[in-house]
């Protein structure tokens, strides 16, 4: 049988349109994930730089001498905020927040990917995979 050139041309157009649609969705997600990572790191670095400048202004040194002992990320955050509200420890608070922000950045990225696979792509397979990653990370952040 001779293939009908017109119908195969239509198929061609149809399939490339689908491909284009997918490429566009992929583009949106790539941009979102990319910017989440970029903004997270930038905020974290800004906090660290602010802590250093403040420290320099206060003490003419860039050294920080304190320990984070036996706390997970959320305990650390709560503890620093509590100390911060009591006053005086502010450069240190900024540094700890910078470290916390850094650790939360990949976590937020996975969270965004989860929403993307579930809501936008409706890809159950990758929704499950992402959920596994998210649960494992959540577990690690609440370690004691």
């Amino acid at each position: 049988m001779i293939p009908d050139p017109e119908s195969s041309a239509k198929k061609q157009i149809g399939s490339s349109a689908v491909e284009l649609g997918e490429t566009k969705q992929q583009f949106d997600m790539d941009a979102l994930v990319g910017y989440i990572l970029l903004i997270g790191v930038l905020i974290s670095l800004a906090l660290v730089i602010a802590a250093l400048i403040w420290r320099w202004a206060d003490t003419r040194t860039l050294a920080f001498d304190y320990r984070i002992a036996g706390m997970n990320l959320f305990q650390l955050l709560l503890n620093e905020i509590r100390l911060g509200m009591q006053g005086a420890l502010r450069p240190r608070l900024l540094l700890s927040l910078g470290i916390a922000m850094l650790m939360l950045t990949p976590y937020i990225r996975v969270l965004a990917s989860m929403v993307y696979f579930m809501v936008s792509l409706k890809n159950w397979k990758y929704s499950v995979f992402t959920a596994v990653v998210l649960l494992t990370l959540t577990y690690s952040l609440f370690l004691r």
């Binding site: 990319g34 910017y35 790191v41 920080f64 997970n72 470290i99 850094l102 650790m103 690690s140």
Partner: protein
């Protein structure tokens, strides 16, 4: 206490090398920190924290350039993060001396294998059923080749357990273990070198997060060391990333091979001398 003024420039160099090779920069910063008198477990903890910054910083640019494969990354992350948790727990418990030697030897063997392999475009041929079910394929615009490269991954069933081991090495030694991850992507799963390097970069971020959580709870993350190392490595990584996108796959591979060889020798020497 190591001074900020010394640690900051060293960290910039470490971050630059890390980004160029798809690694986290920990390979350079850990030996330097120990040479400056920092306890090895603290060096590992700071390194893995800085790895999050490098990985996220450079991954950001690669993802927006559409080179990174999000599905490949997400699938393999399931395995690397569990590995990282186990690896970090092991480091807290034991002396890692013999593991350094094994790690160095594995890298050396991989170096020889990768040196012989040449594959600019990745694979477009037949996929096995598991990898096909996992939808692990893609395309990316290659600036150096001036065309869109299509590829299909393969052997995901073999890549996954290997990535668990890569994650374990990352958690154990506080490095991105990007070298190992890139190898698995290249040799086992048949991804084009640029895709494997950039996807590895994204995976490194969450893997390092899992490891860093363990070290944080153990009280090994020293904020005074973290500040210069994170800042320096981020600056270096930013510069390295700008260079990578403009280079050909061959150049990336050559640079990667060079770094891999140094890393292998360094690991073996340190393991044998026991100067951990």
């Amino acid at each position: 206490m190591v001074s900020f003024e010394l640690l900051f420039p060293i960290s910039i160099v470490a971050g630059f090398i890390g980004a160029m090779a798809g690694m986290g920069g920990g390979v350079v910063i850990i030996p330097v920190l120990t040479l400056l008198g920092v306890d090895i477990k603290r060096a590992i903890a700071i390194s893995i924290l800085s790895v999050i910054a490098t990985s996220s910083g450079s991954a950001s640019a690669y993802i927006r350039d559409h080179i990174t494969n999000l599905k490949v990354g997400m699938f393999l992350e399931m395995f690397t993060i569990v590995g990282a948790l186990v690896g970090a727990k092991i480091t807290l418990a034991v002396s890692p001396k013999p593991l350094y030697i094994i790690f160095g030897l594995v890298l050396l063997a991989s170096w020889l294998a990768l040196f012989a392999a040449k594959d600019e475009m990745g694979h477009t041929g037949a996929q096995d059923r598991i990898t096909n079910w996992l939808e692990l394929e893609g395309s990316y615009p290659d600036q150096a080749l001036g065309q869109v490269v299509h590829y299909k991954a393969r052997r995901a069933y073999f890549g996954a357990p290997l990535m668990y081991l890569a994650g374990m090495i990352a958690g154990l030694l506080g490095i991105g273990a990007g070298a190992v991850k890139v190898l698995i992507h290249d040799l086992v799963m048949g991804l084009p070198p640029k895709v494997s390097t950039t996807t590895s970069n994204m995976i490194i971020g969450v893997t390092a997060l899992a490891g860093a959580s363990v070290y944080l709870v153990a009280g090994l993350i020293d904020p005074g060391l973290a500040a210069p190392v994170i800042l320096g490595i981020a600056v270096g990584a930013f510069l390295g990333t700008r260079l990578l996108v403009r280079m050909s796959n061959q150049a990336v591979r050559r640079f990667f091979l060079f770094i891999l060889l140094i890393l292998a020798v360094e690991m073996i020497v340190r393991g044998v001398r026991g100067g951990l």
